[in-house]
């Protein structure tokens, strides 16, 4: 692995050709990725795609076999200048059962340079923010799965990290706490780059502004969320009622529209022939105009594919 200073300032993290094998299994296979600064970056992939391995390699828990990793101004994983600037919510890590919650988090803050008093105040405030204020002096053994997850999130957000990795941060959380975590991620992204891996693609599509799809250790697609989801141009539309044959035929006859797919319940997908942006926009306006002219009210519409559809197209269904 080599380090060169040529990191574009807009990048929080650059990976090039990163490979990591476990015996015969190639968990990362020449992974190349660039994560823009101050973005909320979604990392998606099927089970075994290499997401956790990728996080572990970036965090320096695992050594890569080959490749280049540059973090925050060209630093390599494990560089002491990264201490306190990066944090992670690891997927399967457990907290120490032999220390109180407050001691564990205070140690983390004090390692970053906080005084004992400030560390305690910050920890108490952070725990209260995620509803764990009453557990300050308790051990982690009293926490449920969801509470432990929230504790993990708290430690990742402690201090002032510039780059935060969250491996499945909302798995096991109830909807209220999942929403709270998403809000915290949004707040943090003003000051930090947040990389989130999750299987909840709807959540990621809503939360992230950039995304990469990883499959068998290879990045299949990456870019801004709109670039990725608009890659296959189509209009998904939900109407107040089902279209009758003549209405549907009229829309399909519009320039740039292919044969519609009826999803049932008044929901249709109209694939668009347009490749160019302006041409696509004209087609969308034409479809909506035709519907309004016929006094059919669209309840909702979305241009492009959902992240889930892109994910299913790009990933191998034999992945485990």
């Amino acid at each position: 692995m080599s380090t060169s200073p040529a990191v574009p300032p807009s990048s929080a993290l650059d990976l090039e050709g990163v490979t990591r094998t476990f015996g015969k299994l190639r968990a990362l296979d020449g992974t190349t990725l660039s994560i823009p600064k101050r973005s909320i970056f979604g990392l998606v992939g099927p089970n075994g795609a290499g997401k956790t391995t990728l996080f572990s390699v970036i965090a320096g828990f695992l050594q890569p076999d080959a490749g280049r990793i540059e973090i925050l101004d060209g630093l390599a994983p494990g560089d002491s200048r990264l201490l306190g600037r990066m944090s992670i919510l690891p997927q399967d890590a457990l907290f120490d059962r032999n220390m109180t919650i407050v001691d564990q988090l205070m140690l983390l803050r004090r390692l970053e340079g906080a005084s004992r008093r400030n560390a305690r105040l910050e920890v108490a405030e952070a725990l209260t923010r995620v509803g764990l204020g009453d557990y300050l002096e308790r051990g982690v053994s009293v926490l449920s799965h969801g509470m432990s997850k929230r504790l993990g999130i708290v430690q990742a957000f402690l201090g002032d990290p510039e780059l935060i990795f969250l491996d499945e941060p909302t798995s096991g959380l109830d909807p209220r706490n999942a929403k709270r975590v998403r809000e915290v991620i949004r707040e943090l992204s003003v000051h930090a780059t947040v990389v989130v891996s999750s299987h909840n693609l709807f959540e990621l599509q809503d939360l992230c502004d950039h995304v990469a799809i990883l499959d068998r250790g290879v990045v299949k697609a990456q870019g801004s969320m709109s670039e990725i989801t608009r890659g296959a141009r189509r209009l998904e539309i939900e109407l107040e009622r089902t279209l009758v044959g003549e209405e549907r035929a009229a829309i399909e006859a519009l320039a740039g529209v292919r044969v519609a797919e009826d999803l049932g319940g008044g929901r249709y997908i109209f694939p668009l022939e347009a490749i160019e942006n302006e041409q696509g926009n004209r087609t969308v306006r034409a479809i909506l105009g035709e519907l309004l002219r016929r006094e059919i009210t669209p309840r909702s519409f979305r241009e492009g594919s959902s992240l889930e559809e892109i994910f299913l197209q790009l990933t191998d269904d034999t992945s485990e």
């Binding site: 695992l62 032999n98 004090r110």
Partner: protein, 299 residues
């Protein structure tokens, strides 16, 4: 590397050791076994079954044989034979120094504890990092502290805990002797006792470092326990039995401080200082080796 972070890791690790199952076992084993092995000596004296002179003369032979054995002067059966005939001159002088120029019962306790304390350390200090490796707790700290700082912090925390524990045990023995046995002056008892406590602290450090090295590189606490116990107890057993087949194999004893730690109580101060230096050198070797492995391994 920042000494502040090392200090913090060690400070926070001490309460964790106490709350940990292995830490409690360490305290229990050290106190219960540490006191138990000294008890027969004190009972012999207190009950008056044998006159103290007779006890001392038997102890002198036993200790001289033991000292000669760990100095690799011959195989154990031969040394027992020579000891019985009073032909172990060097070791016998050493034993005489311990039993006649110093408080004899306390010296005998020191010799016994010297054989046992490395084993107590093996059963208590095995889980400095392996548990955290197994359950991933270490991952929360690794982006805030370097691996070297974490390794050294855990070592210093466990070394401080071990020294405190062993010192408390020995202090209890010294105080018991001073309060219950009307045999030695408080002055000579405290002087020899303090020196012994200091030397045991020095002796325990390389064993703690060895445990740190093993614990940082074995992901399972149970595996680490087995390995530390097997290495610390296995080296003298293998060495002393292998030298009956071929004398140079006895040098295996020098893989650990077993080969020279008894010299901490040598009558010649130069020999004692060399043994102190040896303990620190072994500590450094284990720490450097352990740290190099720990820095390269997957966590």
């Amino acid at each position: 590397m920042q000494s502040r972070r090392i200090r913090l890791v060690s400070l926070y690790s001490i309460p964790a050791i106490l709350r940990n199952g292995s830490g409690i076992t360490y305290v229990f084993i050290t106190f219960v076994l540490g006191i138990t092995i000294t008890e027969p000596l004190l009972v012999f004296y207190e009950s008056g079954i044998l006159p103290i002179d007779e006890v001392l003369s038997k102890l002198e032979i036993a200790i001289s044989v033991l000292l000669a054995a760990v100095s690799l002067e011959g195989t154990f059966p031969d040394l027992v034979d020579l000891g019985g005939k009073g032909e172990l001159t060097g070791a016998a002088e050493w034993a005489t120094y311990l039993l006649h120029q110093r408080p004899a019962l306390l010296s005998a306790v020191f010799v016994l504890e010297m054989l046992c304390i490395p084993l107590f350390v093996a059963t208590g200090a095995f889980n400095q990092l392996s548990g955290d490796l197994q359950f991933g707790a270490i991952r929360y700290q690794l982006l805030r502290v370097s691996r070297t700082e974490l390794f050294l912090g855990r070592f210093f925390g466990m070394a401080a805990f071990s020294i405190l524990l062993i010192s408390t045990l020995l202090l209890a023995v010294v105080l018991y002797m001073g309060l219950r046995l009307d045999l030695y002056e408080w002055g000579e008892l405290l002087a020899w006792g303090s020196r012994g406590i200091l030397l045991f602290a020095v002796m325990s450090i390389p064993y703690v470092a060895l445990c740190t090295m093993i614990s940082a590189n074995v992901r399972s606490p149970f595996g680490s326990l087995i390995l530390t116990s097997a290495v610390i107890s296995g080296v003298p057993l293998v060495s002393l039995s292998a030298m009956t087949a071929w004398a140079p194999l006895g040098k295996i004893l020098y893989l650990l401080p077993w080969g020279f730690q008894h010299r901490l109580f040598h009558p010649d101060p130069q020999q004692a200082l060399l043994a102190v230096a040896g303990c620190f050198a072994y500590t450094a070797i284990y720490l450097v080796l352990g740290c190099l492995l720990f820095r390269r391994r997957d966590l």
